[in-house]
Amino acid sequence: MRYNALKILKEGLTGNKNWKPVWREPEPKSEYDVIIIGGGGHGLATAYYLAKNHGITNVAVLEKGYIGSGNVGRNTTIVRANYMIPGNSEFYSHSLKLWETMESELNYNAMHSQRGVINLFHSDGQRDAAARRGNMMISQGDDAILLDRDGVRKELPYLDFDNHRFPVYGGLFHKRGGNARHDAVAWGYARAADQLGVDLIQKCAVTGIDIVNGKVTGVQTSLGPIRGKKVAIVVAGRSSEVAAMAGLEVPIESHILQAFVSEGLKPAINHVVTFGMGHFYISQSDKGGLVFGGDLDFHASYSQRGNLPMMEHVMEAGMSLMPAIGKAKVLRSWGGIMDMTPDGSFIIDKTEVENLYMDCGWCYGGFKAIPASGWCMAHLMAEDKPHEVAKKHTFDRFRTGVGLMDEESKGSQHNLH
């Protein structure tokens, strides 16, 4: 079934009775060519591109909850390509290009909105850094405009420009950046993968990974054993736990990241805006809620709820930058489990176990990466060699120290990113 305007009109006039479920709910088969553990954005995109780009359709996606119940439905939905380090730069550039054609390709409205991302700066030093970053973004083929104070004032008139401690000096405007409806991204990839023959098995928890002579042969699940010629672990914050089922130890520490949503308001904030002097970023959802967040709580945690100090920091930073939001009530907040690597960049690689692959270490930036992550993971599994734009993202870079991608120049250590 393809969606189109005529169909929507017809259903609307006839009581919306003939919509069918958008994907099947099959029983698992006894064997697949590829088993993907994790039905989040990355797992679903991997399944879709395996089928679409490589013709591998005998694929199962195993999800212990329901599709979209993990981090893909619990993030602040920002899409951008403003990275600077070789490796990340070309990967996120590739991802943004895929975002721009994804909805028409999937025939699914993911409400991808290129409303622009503005990273504010508040000192001469930060302006130099923003100019440099902008030049890097332009040289990688993406877009960036350096806005002065008046330029920012035109776009974001509601900021406190003359805040005594953190006056706004300007901003780096990335027009092709923006955000998207996160659930719809999961649903769009799920539906498209299903239509190409991929089995989406929900409420199916993987409890073990079968390995014979160093080679993966399948998985044990709550619905019984399933054989697989190749297996992918794409489970974000739970990467260490699932990797341990295969006897693997990975360079990941799970941390908590909080986000907040206000009550619904009339359109007020028309971009994604980041503060340069405290950890705070904000956008407004199509439903009207202000969606904003801050930094990690900075200790290993699976608790899925944050601590008050970071919450206070985010609120204070928000009030410093745009005092008007103080009138809005926060409706809800949550904490997601982030799979943090030592250098803050992700991993798409083979493992020590033959035919077992991992896509992990997305830190706090996995949402924007969904299309390219799926694209590159599918390429790695189908061709058995890394894709050009993800070839630097190996496990081995930590062992050798060569090719670390430390975007924040903090050092390759778990507690620093």
Binding site: S240, P251, E253, H299, A300, S301, Y302, N307, Q413, H414
Partner: protein, 88 residues
């Protein structure tokens, strides 16, 4: 989260700096690259009971070994790392 420093009593989490897993207490020979890699990067990263190193940075500055539950924020035991080292 509040942490009960053995020297200062129960204090706000903000006073404490988190370093990481207790692996940091056993530094291998630097010439052993595999062991150094494991020491620096590879983590058990358990969901549940864990022991990790914190410093009471904005207090007495003592290094602490904390036994806690990563799934619930519960803290079971806070010890001075110095005492830990002496007992070995």
């Amino acid at each position: 989260m509040r942490i009960k420093c053995p020297l200062c009593g129960e204090r706000d989490r903000r006073e404490f700096y988190y370093l990481g897993a207790k692996d940091y207490l056993t530094r291998p020979e630097e010439s052993n690259l595999d062991a150094m890699h494991k020491y620096l990067h590879i983590r058990e990263n358990p969901c549940g009971l864990t022991e990790d190193l914190w410093q009471h940075e904005a207090g007495c500055r003592a290094w602490l070994l904390i036994e806690r539950n990563t799934a619930t924020h519960e803290i079971f035991k806070v010890e001075l790392v110095n005492n830990k080292k002496d007992s070995k």
